[in-house]
Every structure is written in structure tokens, then in C-alpha cells.
């Protein structure tokens, strides 16, 4: 299953919201069994094809991860790309144009 996400960029900032369970592997389900870990491990943000953020995440990122980052020199029309991959190898990507 692909990781679904939304991204918006305007002025000096890129904002990303993903839909993801972000399970730590530490929680127990109703049956007393641990819920397997399922979390996003990598997030990469590009501006006009150049990587400006190459991130690694652990289990401490909240469910439905949200990230915003201010970027120098961002301008309207810049092509923003976001790519994410989780610990099960599921991936997601999105592209947007800076407003």
C-alpha cells in the first residue's frame, strides 16, 4: 500500500502531512499481543530536483506525521517533490508547485 500524503509550499516554507499508523511496536493490542512496528523511516524533500531535506525517522514520530520546514530561496513556481518510505518498504511520493 502506498503512503498517502499532501504537501504545500508557499513563500519560505514546505508543509507535509502523511497518513500513516506510526506504530512503535511497543503497544499491545486488545488480545494482549504486541502490535507490530509500522512507521516511516525515510523522508526526502526536493526543490527543482535538488534534495534539501534528507530525513530519517524513528518510532517517536507521531501518527499521521506532519513536518514543516523553512527553506531559503524558495520561490513561486519551484517544483517540490516529497518521497517517503516506511519499515515495511511501503512508499509514497507527491509533487507540488510552490505558490
Amino acid at each position: 500500500m502506498a503512503i498517502t500524503m499532501r504537501a504545500r509550499a508557499s513563500k519560505d516554507e514546505i508543509k507535509i502531512l502523511m497518513t500513516h499508523p506510526s506504530e512503535t511496536g511497543l503497544r499491545k493490542g486488545a488480545n494482549g499481543q504486541p502490535i507490530p512496528a509500522h512507521f516511516v523511516k525515510n523522508i526526502q524533500v526536493t526543490v527543482n530536483g535538488k534534495t534539501i531535506l534528507d530525513g530519517q525517522w524513528g518510532v517517536g514520530v507521531s501518527k499521521d506525521p506532519y513536518l514543516s520546514v523553512k527553506v531559503q530561496g524558495l520561490k513561486a513556481g519551484d517544483k517540490i517533490g516529497v518521497h517517503a518510505e516506511d519499515n515495511k518498504g511501503e512508499q509514497g511520493s507527491i509533487e507540488t508547485i510552490a505558490a
Partner: protein, 154 residues
């Protein structure tokens, strides 16, 4: 029932699947993703996590601010902003010092504009520590956040 409409819906949904497949497989950025720092993210002590990301001995800096609520009623979703006036920021890491796995996030950055915001889980009341590398040097700042309901584990 209108058979044409059925046909259209079926075609539309398979087109959606193709779009999803393209998004999943073909729209990868040009460069490979960073190698996940297994030692850092599975460390159970802050000192070990810091060692794994090169953050040991970071200098306290007033040019870094960890902005967050003083009290987090829900430890599962704690908003944290790392703001810095340091120039040429190369990386930022965020740690919840009393989390089961303290290292939360580690970013390599280019053209960083001085602020990064995300939402994290905190298992209990603890310092949140930011590690910022700038000009080849490593700096740090913390903020204590009181957690009234934990966000990790049971």
C-alpha cells in the same frame, strides 16, 4: 442501473490504481534515500543515541530554541519547533531523552531557512533535545516538557 455509468466507474478506479502505482514506483527523487541509522534509532539511552549521530559533546547554544508547550496533555502528539539563527545548518536531530528509543528524527539539510516543525511522541516528562550542526560544529539546546499522559508503549 446504468451500465455505462458502471463501466465508467470501473475504468476510473483502475486509472486511479495506475496513478497510485506511478506515484509509488516511478516518481522517486533522483538521489537515494539516506541509510537509516539503526544504531541511533534503536539505542535505548540518550548518550548512545547521541554517540551514533555524532552529537556527543555538543556545545550548548543560545542560538537554538526548542519551542514546545510546557505541559503536553497528550504525549502521543507533542508539537515541537526547532528554530535557530545559526548559519549554514547541515543537520538537525531531535531526541526525547526519556523515550524508550530517544532518537526521534535526524535530518540532513540544505538551504535551511531557520525553522523546522514536527509532532512527536513523548513517553513521559522529559527534556527534548535538539542537536544542530552548523559549519562543521555541533550545538545543542533542550526544553523540558511535562507529559500528563504518555504517548509511547501501553
Amino acid at each position: 442501473m446504468n451500465p455505462m455509468r458502471r463501466h465508467f466507474l470501473k475504468a476510473a478506479s483502475s486509472a486511479g490504481l495506475i496513478a497510485a502505482a506511478i506515484a509509488a514506483g516511478l516518481m522517486k527523487p533522483g538521489q537515494a534515500l539516506a541509510t537509516w541509522n539503526n544504531a541511533g534509532f534503536t539505542a535505548t539511552k540518550t548518550a548512545d543515541a547521541l554517540a551514533a549521530i555524532g552529537g556527543t559533546g555538543a556545545m550548548e547554544s543560545k542560538d537554538i530554541q526548542v519551542k514546545a508547550p510546557d505541559i503536553a496533555e497528550n504525549g502521543a502528539v507533542v508539537p515541537i519547533e526547532v528554530a535557530t539563527t545559526l548559519a549554514n545548518v547541515e543537520s538537525i536531530a531531535l531526541l526525547g531523552e526519556k523515550n524508550v528509543n530517544p532518537l526521534i528524527a535526524h535530518y540532513a539539510l540544505t538551504n535551511f531557512g531557520g525553522s523546522l516543525y514536527m509532532r512527536v511522541k513523548l513517553g513521559q516528562t522529559a527534556n527534548v533535545r535538539a542537536i544542530v550542526t552548523s559549519g562543521g560544529k555541533t550545538y545543542t539546546a533542550t526544553k523540558n516538557i511535562k507529559v500528563t499522559a504518555g504517548g509511547c508503549g501501553g
